[in-house]
């Protein structure tokens, strides 16, 4: 990739909400192609790597940044504020990675309420000694002044539940080769797909590129947890009775988990036109169950021990129901 000589460099920002840093690592994993990237782009905001502070970003003109890769979910008021600021300062805002796209692993917190989480972490936790029942406070007076912390919201949100998103790049993290393809397309001035599209991922499901042997007939009489089988390393996981989210997940990651002999857990999100990946997977799984009698169906489905946490591992906030409600209970 050569430098576009007369074209000004792309101004790029990478920012994280409730994130783990893996998406930033995926940007760095361009390895030697780093030279090509920096020949065509200037990074103007990236807390993990540059000393640009929030005040510097707030001072930028609107639409100063050409493209922002926002990774991480929106979990607290700081994440929400920065999402809005970056929306304002960016021409293109990309929901980068599973957390920004669908909620990701932090989205699993939507099985609990804020109160339950704070209680477990700060009060009931095994090694925590906290007789005064101290909890972190949004505003706290110390001798010297007032200290503030962001507000921890009850509900985890995706980026597009917070601001308008131009594109989605799925994956936990997105596979670096896909990022480079997208980057090249932008730098070359290629026409981008319509706003709101998923980019950097294939339209077909994982099964299309998966190298495991599969047949058209999947008749499952028993569901097994991954350690309950002697995986032969070759046969489709579903055909061995192990839940694999491949059928309901886009390709593009290089089936890296399958390469490690682990079943897919859906981080690349649903195929086109599917509004709820978990529901589609449930549908697919139900089709595979080889039973027609209610008692037998019940027996087999009981072997799926954590349906919500398995089918919605990365997508709970982005799913139709978005969070667990508190109905009949505690």
């Amino acid at each position: 990739m050569t430098e576009q000589k007369n074209k000004p460099k792309l101004k790029m920002a990478v920012y994280w909400g409730a994130a783990c840093g893996g998406c930033c690592v995926s940007v760095l994993d361009v390895h030697e192609k780093l030279f090509d990237v920096v020949a065509n782009a200037d990074l103007v905001f990236w807390p993990i790597a540059l000393d640009i502070k929030y005040a510097d970003v707030e001072a930028m003109e609107d639409k100063f940044i050409d493209i922002t890769l926002f990774n991480g979910a929106v979990r607290n008021s700081e994440n929400e504020h920065m999402a809005k600021v970056l929306r304002q300062k960016s021409k293109l805002l990309v929901a980068y990675g599973s957390c920004a796209h669908m909620g990701g692993i932090p989205g699993l917190a939507n099985f609990s309420t804020k109160e339950e989480i704070l209680k477990q972490v700060y009060l009931k936790n095994i090694t925590t000694e906290n007789e005064d029942a101290t909890l972190p406070n949004v505003s706290y007076e110390v001798e010297e002044g007032t200290l503030t912390l962001p507000k921890f919201y009850n509900d985890v949100r995706t980026l597009d539940q917070t601001v308008v998103v131009d594109y989605y790049m799925p994956g936990c993290p997105p596979q670096t080769e896909r990022l480079l393809e997208v980057f090249m397309a932008i730098v070359s001035g290629n026409e981008l797909p319509p706003k709101g599209s998923v980019i950097g991922a294939y339209d077909k499901g994982q099964c299309d590129e998966c190298t495991r042997k599969k047949t058209d007939n999947k008749h499952i009489k028993e569901f097994k947890r991954p350690f309950e089988i002697e995986d032969d390393g070759e046969t489709c996981f579903l055909e061995q009775g192990v839940i694999c989210l491949g059928p309901a997940t886009r390709g593009g990651c290089g089936h890296r988990c399958i390469e490690g002999n682990a079943p897919c857990r859906g981080c690349y999100g649903p195929p086109p036109d599917v509004s709820d990946p978990g529901a589609k997977m449930m549908s697919a799984v139900a089709t595979m169950i080889d039973a027609n009698e209610p008692e037998e169906i019940e027996r087999i489905t009981n072997q799926i021990v954590d349906p919500a946490g398995t089918f919605y591992r990365f997508s709970l906030p982005g799913s139709i129901l978005r969070r667990k409600v508190k109905e009949s209970l505690q």
Partner: protein, 487 residues
């Protein structure tokens, strides 16, 4: 009262802000280091099948996911009451050594090196790997990227997913190595050793030969006299994957040495209303506040702490560097915060040597990858050393292996109180009445934080890409006509 806010802290993994309060004279009254993020892993792991946890907890951190995967894998084995077979253990440790190599290389070159090679108060725009390369040449930059890439490739080969590794399963690992793969890793491990030695030489040339830097390390406002924690093997040598947790006091005497199952007797955590991150402390001493000294419950768990807490390194070249470092710095234990960078390079060398040991161990291509699981799942604790501190995972499950409770004490969390104190000390030492608070001063305060190896490193700012080069133009018979130089 004047107030200086650094928000967010940068060139590290994670969110954080620093509030510095000055009194009317212009001296520092107090410094608060606040962590504004919480995600709630300890809660949302509840209800998940325990065998999924090793893949869920990698998402705590995308830079050290392997650490969580290992601690979690060990905890899950303990939940099922089994030990993996030798091949599985060694594969895990080999993966883990590559993980340490990638992380320590990246941290030193992009985080530590700028502050030492370029200078701690140099202009902001130069304080990154670009500035380092200007001084030492772009070849090194390329080599750093290459070695990191190779380490990542080994991780992907053994662990599946190159970042969020998937190799662990209750009782062992999912995939083995072929002889061809093993031979390739052996070759690469030798490359790591060479590069680690080179890095230590570089540190010697650039830092130890420079009196100002040595003075900064030994006498700058960066020392904290605290207890040191690290994992040790049965010979009390540093081990990242397995062993017992040993804590030595400020004089270097053993305070305690515990097995993972007993961790609750030795470590407790407290909560402050101004930070979402908890503050672990040594239980037997108790919490005495943000104070230093023999009687303080605050401890450190860093590369330097590991070297303090152990009696030596288990591999020969690393051992010799260990002895050299403590020789130069005046004996054990060393409390100079910036020496963490040196300790990190010694660990890099150890990881490289250990990867070669494991890659040449005949067990590494064994076929027995998993132990059977005859027991009802129950409770288990797994401890490893993460690059930035001792990492504990503790799970309690029901009899079907669904998680009821999870407790995690994460690497950097161990150091929360110490980091607060390091920042305060640095600020008090650097900001005084009459001193103009420049960006350089603020960076030197942040250096107190960076030494602890916040998860991340690796700059991405633009690299000029121009090699220092000399071209000699000669006649056909070899006579030199002209020399062209590019600096």
């Amino acid at each position: 009262m004047k107030r200086i806010t650094i928000d967010p802290i940068t060139r590290l993994e994670g969110h954080g802000k620093i509030e510095i309060f000055l009194n009317d004279e212009g001296d520092v009254d107090n410094v608060y280091f606040q962590v504004p993020e919480l995600r709630g892993f300890e809660k949302f792991c509840e209800g998940r099948p325990v065998e999924e946890l090793p893949q869920i907890v990698t998402k705590i951190c995308g830079v050290c996911p392997g650490c969580h995967h290992m601690a979690s894998g060990k905890a899950v084995d303990a939940v099922y009451g089994v030990e993996p077979p030798p091949t599985a253990k060694k594969l895990r440790e080999l993966f883990y050594m590559a993980h340490f190599v990638h992380s320590h290389i990246a941290h030193f070159y992009a985080l530590a090196a700028p502050d030492f090679v370029v200078g701690p108060t140099a202009a902001k725009a130069e304080r990154n790997i670009l500035g380092v390369i200007n001084k030492v040449g772009v070849n090194i930059g390329t080599e750093v990227i290459k070695q990191r890439r190779i380490a990542q490739e080994i991780q992907a080969l053994i662990g599946g997913h190159q970042t969020h590794v998937v190799m662990n399963i209750p009782g062992g690992v999912r995939k083995g190595l072929t002889e061809e793969q093993r031979a390739d890793i052996e070759k690469k491990a030798k490359g790591f050793i060479d590069f680690a030695k080179f890095s230590l030489n570089l540190f010697g040339d650039v830092v130890l030969e420079n009196k100002e830097y040595v003075d900064l390390i030994l006498n700058g406002p960066y020392s904290l006299k605290l207890h040191s924690m690290g994992l040790v093997d049965e010979n009390n040598k540093v081990n990242f994957y397995d062993g017992k947790v040993r804590v030595v006091d400020t004089e270097g005497e053993e305070h305690c040495k515990y097995s993972p199952n007993d961790y609750q007797d030795f470590v407790a955590e407290r909560v402050e209303p101004w930070s979402y991150l908890k503050f672990p402390y040594l239980k037997k001493i108790g919490w005495k506040g943000f104070v230093e000294g023999q009687d303080s419950g605050v401890y450190q768990a860093t590369p330097l702490s590991r070297l303090n807490a152990a009696d030596g390194m288990a591999t020969p070249f690393a051992q010799s560097e260990y002895e050299k470092m403590f020789g130069i710095l005046g004996g054990k234990p060393v409390h100079a915060t910036l020496a963490m960078h040196w300790a990190r390079l010694i660990e890099l060398l150890y990881s490289a040597e250990r990867s070669l040991e494991l890659a040449t161990d005949p067990d590494i291509i064994g076929k027995d990858l998993r132990s059977p699981l005859p027991n009802i799942p129950n409770e288990g604790i797994g401890i490893v050393e993460a690059q930035r501190g001792t990492l504990t995972h503790h799970y309690i499950t029901d009899d079907k292996g669904l998680v009821l409770k999870a407790n995690l004490i994460v690497g950097t969390t161990n150091n929360n109180a110490a980091i607060c104190m390091s920042l305060k000390k640095a600020a008090q030492g650097l900001i005084k009445k009459g001193v103009e608070v420049t960006d350089g001063i603020l960076n030197m305060i942040e250096m107190a934080f960076r030494a602890y190896d916040p998860c991340f490193s690796c700059a991405t700012h633009s690299l000029p890409g121009e090699m220092p080069m000399i071209v000699n133009i000669r006649e056909m018979d070899g006579t030199l006509i002209r020399t062209v130089k590019r600096k």
